[in-house]
Amino acid sequence: MDRKKISKADLGRWLDTIAGKYELIGPTEDEGIIQFGPVQSSAELTLEYANSLIPPKSLFFPPVESLFAFRKRGEEIQLEETKPLQQDRVIFGIRNCDVGSLSLLDRVFCDDLEDSYYRERRERTTLIALACPTPPRSSCFCTTFGIDPLSPAGSDILLTDVGDVYLVDAVTDKGEELVALGEGLFAPLTEGEEKELQPPPVDMPQLDVRELRERLEALWEDEYWEKLSLPCLGCGICTYVCPTCHCFDISDVGSTSDGVRYRCWDSCMYSDFALMVSGENPRPTKRERTRNRYFHKFSTFPSRYGTGYACVGCARCLVHCPGGVEITEVIKDISAKEGVSDR
């Protein structure tokens, strides 16, 4: 579909129309935290944000979700599956790093053993991406991983702020349906506008990751991991704010006769993550856990799923890590290292 425009004043009207038909989810601010959550009207949304604290992966793979309820009735055990969604949804304002992360998560959850909860949420959600403000945050490095903060790839609609209006690129049928809901609010671009209304190019530091995987794989035994793990405190912030991390735990809450089986986010940085009941732990110290995390992102994920790296450069982990472990530094360190044989 051709590029259209919508005035800033009309954006709210359009979103309110959407909210009448779908569950509308977008960035809101509460207690100083930007988060994606359901809203009744566009007035609750904030547009003053770089990105949310918790990535919108939480809307597809929630921090806690009930898988099913169980109930004992006499001798019988009844299981009741949880329905992940009541209504089709529209997510407004997702950034492209997070859109990119969804295609990575799709590989995990929608392989031949399909996760029906994730799958249903993905299928019943339309994504309205919002091109990133320029200049980007100083921490951002999504272009390192091939993500274009101004591209509609992966979403259904991309909105780009070019001053008084948003440019509108609806790139899927789902996206066009939403645009159709806002009849009269959208206008085609004139020839002059086509040229004139362009977002400024996004300039951000680009890390060299071309040989990252090969270099990393040569460093399995390197003492680097020991040193890197020194400031790590073993908390789970990096994994919880990461849009590509997908580890979870499953646990039962309730009694043996009445309860719920939940799954909730878990973190490979926790000391008991892989601890077996026998007391054995394949990743007994922070060194192994830190190494495992970076290997997962830059070696084993790409190799297992045939994708690029499992990092989208959103920089949440480097902003929030209390120990100051910075993934950008790790990438630079690895790239700067000679192979293990040279050491």
């Binding site: 359901p38 939480s58 809307l59 921090p63 309820a69 809450v253 309730g254 009694s255 309860g259 939940y262």
Partner: protein, 155 residues
Amino acid sequence: MASESSDEGGNGYEPKILVFACNWCSYAGADLAGVSRLQMPANCRIIRVMCSGRVRPEFVVTALSKGLDGVLVLGCHPGECHYSEGNYFTRRRGLLLKNLLQFVGIEPERFQVRWVSASEGAKFADTVEQVTEQIRALGPNRPQGGMHSTEPGDR
């Protein structure tokens, strides 16, 4: 750990109260109350501990958070501890915990500490009666109900 919550409020409401009783004084006091056939409400489940000092704060916090309506810790009178000083520690800990629970909005009646000796069968019965009535008057601790009434929302 008790996990079910009390019945919803209304006429049928019966609070569930957890009592930790020291083996040497209060539990014996409870025994005496029983043998003396004193009338007591049946809302209390008693757990015998070797000393009131054995009652760690997490026992209380977890019981209340998981939906019990009240927790009562019973120990020997200060100065009369079988282990000479266990209940002095209980006293300090109890004070702090009581204040903290109130600070986060839990009614003070829901966590109580009392000293009941082996000879005080009547005091045991009175205490149980009094605490039960106080808590009954407050109503359920977690009116929202059972373990999984708090459905997690998307974040």
